[in-house]
Amino acid sequence: MKKILLIVLCLGIVLIFWIYHSVSKAGSKGGETQQSVEFMEYMPIDKLFTAFAYVPIIRYERDYLKRDIYNRFYNHDEKKKVIIGYCYREYDVGIGYDHPTDSFDVLQKIACQNLYKELPEPVILSINPISSEVVGKYSRTDCDNLDLDDSGTRKSQQLILKQLKEDGQWNVIVENSQKALASFIRVYCP
């Protein structure tokens, strides 16, 4: 009788451990599914803002000094002209990439080889004129026309880009933006 009781007790212990093991295994399902985590689907990005610029644009009206009759009537040396008025406009400018993931495969090849300087340059994504001023002999209409949206383009956009390039600020913006773009693309490098 003792033997039978002992065998039943032992079988009971085995049964308890077997049930515990089964329950533990069922509970660990969530952990096991984590093995298939690496998928290469990328996250599309509409706009990636990488830089911000506050750009004043100043356009001059130039003429000869009142007393410089010689150049005004005879010599016409343009270098002798001085400022007689100006148009001054200030802009908030957002810079970055528009739908940068559209050509994902091409960009990935470049970014994954650490060739970030070969990535495309950013573009001006937004322009917000915040103030304007006309001083001296400069036409107010000409000044306002800088932001006239003529068939989707405005002169201010070209002037802002030209200004940033002339000041050498565009190079800094481009390098920083290419690095930022590379960081997103490199996430998906194999």
Binding site: Y20, H21, L48, R67, V82, Y86
Partner: protein, 192 residues
Amino acid sequence: MKYINPILSIVLIACTAVLGSCNHVNPTKQGIEESIEQKVFSKIKSDAPYLAQLSAVYGLVFSNYHPNRIESDDFYIRKDKAGVFYGYSLNDAEIKVIKGKDQNILHVRLPMPKQISVDRRVMSVDITHEKYKPIDSKGQIINVDEWMNNELETLTKKYEEKSIEMTKAISRQYFESLSKRFGLKLNLEFTS
């Protein structure tokens, strides 16, 4: 009694095997999480040189105009440029993968981005009469560099919130891509 010892031995071996297999579950799960964490760290480390600082550039124009009835009017116009960089050090960041209920979580705590450096340079000076010095309404000569510095300080204060938000957005987009890449749910916060 002679059967008890063999039976007990079998029971003990069975129990050991069952317990062994039970204990084996947790290290495997931890191993997977640690492996993902290592991959995430390795990816961040390789991307670190590109991890974004925001470049904010400011153009500054000082203009001074003095009407003159006999002579031509006086103009003094000076243009400066300034570059301001915003960012943070990844050494101050807290990044870990923690187990979630349905999905593992990429937990990222980043320091609040701040101004890292300022660089201001004179670009050009246009003047009508060479000897003219810019004067204020009281006839006092204006310190143009002091004016430029004050103007830059005003501008950086005005756009500081926007610049910090843009820097945060760049980081957020990066870590969103990273978490999606590794099938993790992102929990990102910036500490003040």
